[in-house]
């Protein structure tokens, strides 16, 4: 880890162990004494919330797998059995299916946070890229899991998405057959999706480990975007951020519980309680809400671009919409990290949030008439944000003055003088735990 270890083995056994496998030392230095900027706001609590979500999905998922049967004749009935017969089965399944939604809610807020405070910029490019990989694995996991209940939307959603691979020239059709293991989505597909749905969350856990490692080398970014300069800028992770994270997690859990207990199916589709039927297509195929913006981009490409057919163009645009995030650290040319000190970027950021929300709404509308045109305009705006706004803004924007240190910024916010360094020394926990983010 990047900071000096402060771990003191407290007894003989701990000392003996520390000389052989310094597990406790690593835990202490990452989760207890890790020096953390003292001005982190609540947007910084989603990392902990995401870890919680992953744990919830893994625990409920492993239990569901004890009662679930991955066979086309039995899968739908086994899920109904979980809902009706298995003790607390309804709870476990609703936590798992709503848990996927909560997971995505948290990851989107976490990503927008990074976008706002410039957390993807040097020296955190690798940290950001690992995050995008986690996000990709999450979408894959959710897509695979959605086939398992073997409802109408499960089957037809998977049908549309696997059909996309058929659009790739030359290898498309063999690739599609290889992916689904047959000439249509069938038992072979269900089995492999189950196997991979079980595997991917553990791969996510592995990448999360790397993500946290890559976080602890440069340390956290913070709402000012100014790097930590000395001890005055930080507080120990425990108890300051363990408590703040725990509080945020509690609020998040209340929202989670609301969905599970009061409206467990509102985020889903009623037609998925009809067993999959390969002869009848539901009249309106839509993915879960968290994939809607990408579905809108997919369907926005209704025209051929040179040799690229409309269908292939849609596939490329959809994957490009995620892939472009990998290049973000190099597309943004501004030297200033945080949007707090970037008056123009701040406005474009909120426009971009709006573009994503509208794309999500459009993804749920039928692909016809004015909706298609709107989806095309907003798709163009989505890419323009990364390809035009990001590079150009850094060159033309005049940033506001950036504080010299985190400590200065916190003191200024609390109405105390900048030069009064001594009184703020060591901790200023008020800045860490109480001050809401006034500028953000």
């Amino acid at each position: 880890m990047a900071h000096e270890s402060t771990y003191q083995p407290s007894n003989g056994f701990a000392k003996w162990m520390d000389d052989r496998l310094p597990l406790m030392r690593v835990a202490h230095d990452t989760a207890i004494n890790f020096p953390t900027p003292k001005n982190l706001n609540y947007w910084y609590t989603f990392g902990g919330i995401l870890t919680f979500c992953l744990a919830v999905q893994i625990v409920t998922g492993i239990i569901l797998a004890m009662h679930y049967t991955a066979h086309v004749d039995l899968a739908f009935a086994s899920v109904e059995k979980i809902m009706r017969d298995v003790n607390y089965g309804w709870l476990l399944r609703y936590v798992h299916s709503n848990g996927a939604s909560m997971f995505f809610l948290a990851v989107y807020l976490h990503m927008f946070r990074g976008l706002y405070y410039g957390s993807y910029k040097a020296p955190r490019e690798v940290l950001w890229i690992l995050g995008v990989i986690i996000y990709l694995l999450m979408t894959a996991t959710a897509f695979l899991g959605y086939l398992l209940p073997w409802g109408q939307m499960s089957l037809w959603g998977a049908n549309v998405i696997t059909a996309l691979f058929g659009a790739i020239p030359l290898v498309g059709e063999p690739l599609q057959t290889w992916l689904v293991g047959g000439f249509a989505i069938d038992n072979a597909t269900l089995n492999r999706f189950f196997s991979l749905h079980y595997l991917f969350p553990f791969m996510i856990a592995g990448v999360v480990f790397l993500h946290i490692w890559a976080l602890h080398v440069p340390g956290n970014n913070n709402p000012t975007g100014v790097e930590v300069k000395d001890k005055q800028d930080t507080v120990p992770f425990h108890p300051y951020y363990t408590m703040k994270d725990a509080f945020a997690l509690t609020i998040f859990a209340i929202l989670f519980a609301y969905f599970v207990f009061y409206d467990p199916n509102v985020l889903g589709h009623a037609v998925n309680y009809v067993e999959a039927n390969p002869l009848v297509t539901p009249s309106h195929i839509v993915p879960e809400w968290y994939l809607l913006p990408f579905y809108a981009i997919l369907r926005a490409i209704t025209f051929d671009i040179g040799p690229i057919s409309a269908k292939l163009g849609g596939v490329i645009a959809m994957f490009a919409a995620i892939a472009i995030l990998f290049f973000l650290p190099w597309l943004d040319t501004s030297k200033v990290k945080s949007a707090r000190y970037r008056p123009l970027y701040k406005q474009f950021f909120w426009i971009f949030v709006g573009v994503c929300l509208v794309l999500g709404w459009l993804g749920g509308q039928p692909a016809e008439g004015g909706y298609v045109l709107a989806a095309q305009i907003f798709t163009a705006a989505y890419f323009a944000f990364f390809l035009i706004v990001m590079p150009v803004l850094g060159l033309i924007e005049t940033p506001k003055p950036v504080p010299t240190s985190i400590s200065d910024a916190v003191l200024a916010e609390n109405g105390r003088s900048h030069s009064d360094g001594s009184s703020g020394g060591g901790g200023a926990p008020a800045g860490a735990t109480a001050a809401p983010d006034r500028n953000a």
């Binding site: 037809w156 049908n159 549309v160 059909a163 996309l164 057959t177 290889w178 992916l179 293991g181 047959g182 000439f183 249509a184 989505i185 069938d186 072979a188 492999r192 390969p278 002869l279 009848v280 297509t281 009249s283 309106h284 195929i285 209704t302 057919s309 409309a310 269908k311 039928p366 692909a367 016809e368």
Partner: protein, 192 residues
């Protein structure tokens, strides 16, 4: 370590016997590795029981004139349409420039053949039309006897197909394909 044993050949130096052995060993290991990986990849392809269902025989004796039946072939719906003389006439009257996709898409004839009615119907009998019932847009199953052209209508994004299964309007790029097809007798066909 630029001694005689070095694997690195400097500019102008003759490759040594050892260089050759390195490259040969590496290449051999790579080929061996690829062979070892192939079973891991190929197991994902359709298994023998799925491939065994690659063809299906259907008795069409009880499909009345004007009727359409749907059967399954390779997990996909197949439409078998017993067309009326009026439908055949209507379809024949369509000229190629009215068709968004002017290609026959018939697995039984020349892939470049045009989408005239005669190239869409079964070769042995023009009253029979056999199609893969999967919309060429994003794979929904179109509804029979619906839409503005009397053939099929895909409710997903509004593609209209005519009585020969040709796309006439909507986002689907191609005509519904005609699968490999053989008449075993007047009342039995084999698909696939």
């Amino acid at each position: 370590m630029a001694d005689a044993n070095s694997a690195v050949t400097e500019a102008g130096e003759e490759p040594t016997r050892r260089d050759f052995l390195y490259v040969a060993t590496g290449a051999f290991a790579a080929v061996g590795g690829a062979f070892a990986v192939w079973p891991l990849v190929d197991q994902m392809n359709p298994d023998a029981s799925t491939r065994a269902l690659a063809s299906t025989e259907v008795d069409i004796s009880n499909v009345a004139e004007g009727q359409v039946v749907t059967i399954m072939w390779r997990g996909k719906p197949i439409f078998i349409r017993h067309r009326t003389p009026a439908e055949i006439e209507e379809s024949k009257a369509v000229t190629l420039d009215e068709l968004p996709d002017p290609i026959a898409r018939n697995a039984n004839i020349d892939p470049a053949a045009d989408a005239e009615d005669i190239n869409r119907a079964a070769s042995d009998s023009e009253k029979w039309l056999v199609l893969v019932g999967v919309c060429t847009h994003l794979g929904c199953v179109p509804l029979t006897n619906q839409g503005d052209f009397g053939g099929w209508f895909c409710p997903c994004h509004g593609s209209h197909y005519d009585v020969a299964g040709r796309i006439r309007r909507g986002p689907a790029p191609e005509n519904l394909p005609v699968p490999p097809l053989e008449f075993l007798s007047d009342t039995r066909i084999r698909i696939g």
